[in-house]
Amino acid sequence: MLAVTPPEALAPAIGRLAVEGLSVAYRGVPVLNDVSWEAPVTGLTAIVGPNGAGKSTLIKAILGLVPSTGRVTIGGRSVDAMRDATAYVPQRATVDWDFPATALDVVLQGMVREPGWFRGYGRARRERALALLDRVGLADLAGRQIGQMSGGQQQRVFLARGLARDAAILFLDEPLAGVDAASERIILDVFDDLDRDGRLVVCVHHDLGTVSERFADVLVLNKTVIAAGPVQVAFTPQNLARAYGVPLTV
C-alpha cells in the first residue's frame, strides 16, 4: 500500500477525469484533434497508438503543460484547481541526468510544494522519500548521483517522485520503455498497489502484446480517439487496424 491519505479520499472521492473536444496544434500542424474521453474512475488505463499519434501530447495537454483548446475537468473542476490530485511521471529522456542531485533529492521534488517558501524538506519528508525509494527497490542507492544509475533505476526514481505527490490520478509517459526485467517487475507491482488503493493510473504504453494482461482499460489513439473502454471491448484487432493503418493481431 502506498497510501498516505486514507483510501476513501482517493480517486472516487475527487470525481471523474473528463476530456471534451481537446485539440492541440504545433505551429499550425494538428497533433490532437477533438479528443473526447471519459476516463474510468479508478484502475489501470493504457493509452496506445502509433508513433506521432499524440499520446504524450494528450497527457501534457490534460495537465495544462502545452497550449490546447477544449475542456479538461476532474470531478467537474478545472485541472488547475485539482492540481494536487494529479501526478506526472515524464519520459526519462526529458531531463539531464548529469544534474548534481541524488536519488533522494529527486524523490523529494515530488513534495516541493508541501513545506512552503524558505523551508527545507525536513526529516519527516526525507523519511517518506526513503520509504518510497525502498518501495521501488532503491533504498541502497538513495545517496547516489542520478547519472550513476541504470535506465531502469532512473525510471524507478521518477516513479517514486510521482508517488511522493500522493495523488489520486497518476499520468505516466512510457514508464516501461527500455527498462530491465527487474525494474519492469517492480513498476508493475507498484501499479497493482495503486490500483488497490483506488487510484487511477493513466499510462502511455508502447507494447501492444502486454496491454490485455496488465491494464483493465484502454484508449486507442491516433490524433483522435479511435476507441476507448474496457480492454475486452475496445482493444480489438479492428480498432488497432484503424489506429495503426495495418492489420495487427493481439
Binding site: L65, P90, V95, P100, Q109, V112, G147, R161, R165
Partner: protein
C-alpha cells in the same frame, strides 16, 4: 600596511562582494545552460541604469538598481516575445535584443554627456576598481572603527545590499529553483508558479549584474557568473556543495587575480599595475580551464 587599507582593501572588498553575488546566481544559470543569457543580461542592464540616472539626475544606488531591473525585464520580455510571436530562434533573439540594448545604452551615455562624468564607457566594460580608495576623514581618531566604516565608498554598501538580496532570493526558493533547473515541466505539473520563480531568478541576476557594472564592470560580472559555477560543477555532484564551492572559488579568484594585477607587472620590472577586473576575469577562466583539463585526465 596602511597603504593596503587605503588603496587595496576597498577594491578587494567590492570585487569579492560582487563576485559572490554573481557566482551564486551563476550556479542556476550554468545548470540550465543559460550562461549566454547571463552574458547578454549583464550588457542589457546598461541602458536601464544610464536612462534612469539621466532622467532623475541622481546616481544613487536605488535609482541605478531600479533602472537595471527595468531594463532586464524589458529585454527578457522582448526576447520571449520575439521567440513566441516572431518565431525567431532563441539564440538569435538574445543576440539581437541584448546587443541593441547595450548599443542604445552607449548612445544615451554619449548624448546626455554622462560619459564625461561618472559613467565612463571604459569603466562600464572593465570596471574601475582602482578608483575605490578608502580615506578616513579622521585617521586614528577617537571615533575609531565606526567613523572609519562610514567613510567606506558608497559602492561597498550597494554591493553589500545586493549580495544580501541575492542570497535571500536564492535561499527563499532553493527547493523550487533546484526543481525548476532540473525538470521545469514537472515543476509546472506540480503546480509551482513557474513564471514568478523565473521572475525572481531574473531579478537576482539583474541585481548582481547592475551592481557589478558600476564598479567592477561588465566583463568581471560575466566571468564571475559563468566561471566559478562551471568550475564547481566539475568538482561535485551535489547542488548545495556546488553553490558553496562556487562561492569559495569566486573569493579565491578575486584574491589571486587582484594580487596578479598588483604584483604581476613588478615581476617584469614595470611600475604599472594591470586592470584588476581584467586579471580577476582571466584567473577565473584559467581556473576553469585547469579544472576541466584535470578532470579530463582523471
Amino acid at each position: 600596511m596602511a597603504e593596503f587599507w587605503t588603496v587595496d582593501f576597498v577594491p578587494l572588498l567590492a570585487a569579492s562582494l560582487s563576485a559572490l553575488a554573481c557566482a551564486l546566481v551563476g550556479n542556476l544559470l550554468v545548470l540550465t545552460r543559460r550562461a549566454m543569457a547571463a552574458d547578454a543580461l549583464s550588457h542589457a542592464v546598461v541602458p536601464g541604469v544610464v536612462v534612469a540616472v539621466a532622467i532623475t539626475g541622481l546616481s544613487g544606488s536605488i535609482v541605478a538598481l531600479a533602472g537595471g531591473l527595468a531594463a532586464a525585464f524589458a529585454a527578457s520580455g522582448l526576447v520571449a516575445f520575439l521567440i513566441a510571436a516572431g518565431r525567431v530562434e532563441p539564440g538569435t533573439a538574445l543576440g539581437v535584443v541584448f546587443t541593441s540594448f547595450f548599443a542604445f545604452g552607449i548612445l544615451v551615455l554619449e548624448w546626455t554627456g554622462l560619459s564625461r562624468t561618472g559613467f565612463d564607457i571604459h569603466h562600464v566594460v572593465t570596471g574601475h576598481l582602482e578608483g575605490l580608495i578608502w580615506v578616513s576623514r579622521d585617521p586614528g581618531g577617537s571615533a575609531g572603527l565606526v567613523q572609519a566604516f562610514m567613510d567606506l565608498p558608497q559602492v561597498v554598501f550597494e554591493l553589500g545590499l545586493v549580495l544580501v538580496l541575492v542570497v535571500a532570493i536564492l535561499a527563499a526558493f532553493r527547493k523550487e529553483f533546484a526543481l525548476l533547473a532540473f525538470d521545469p515541466v514537472f515543476a509546472r505539473a506540480s503546480g509551482l508558479p513557474v513564471g514568478l520563480l523565473e521572475a525572481a531568478l531574473l531579478t537576482a541576476t539583474a541585481l548582481a549584474c547592475t551592481a557589478a557594472f558600476k564598479s567592477v564592470g561588465v566583463v568581471l560580472a560575466v566571468a564571475m557568473i559563468v566561471c566559478p559555477a562551471a568550475t564547481a560543477r566539475l568538482l561535485t555532484t551535489r547542488l548545495s556543495h556546488q553553490m558553496a564551492l562556487s562561492a569559495a572559488i569566486a573569493f579565491a579568484t578575486v584574491l589571486v587575480g587582484y594580487a596578479a594585477a598588483v604584483f604581476g607587472p613588478r615581476l617584469f620590472g614595470s611600475a604599472l599595475a594591470l586592470n584588476a577586473a581584467g586579471t580577476i576575469g582571466a584567473v577565473a577562466g584559467l581556473a576553469l580551464a585547469a579544472t576541466a583539463a584535470w578532470r579530463a585526465r582523471a
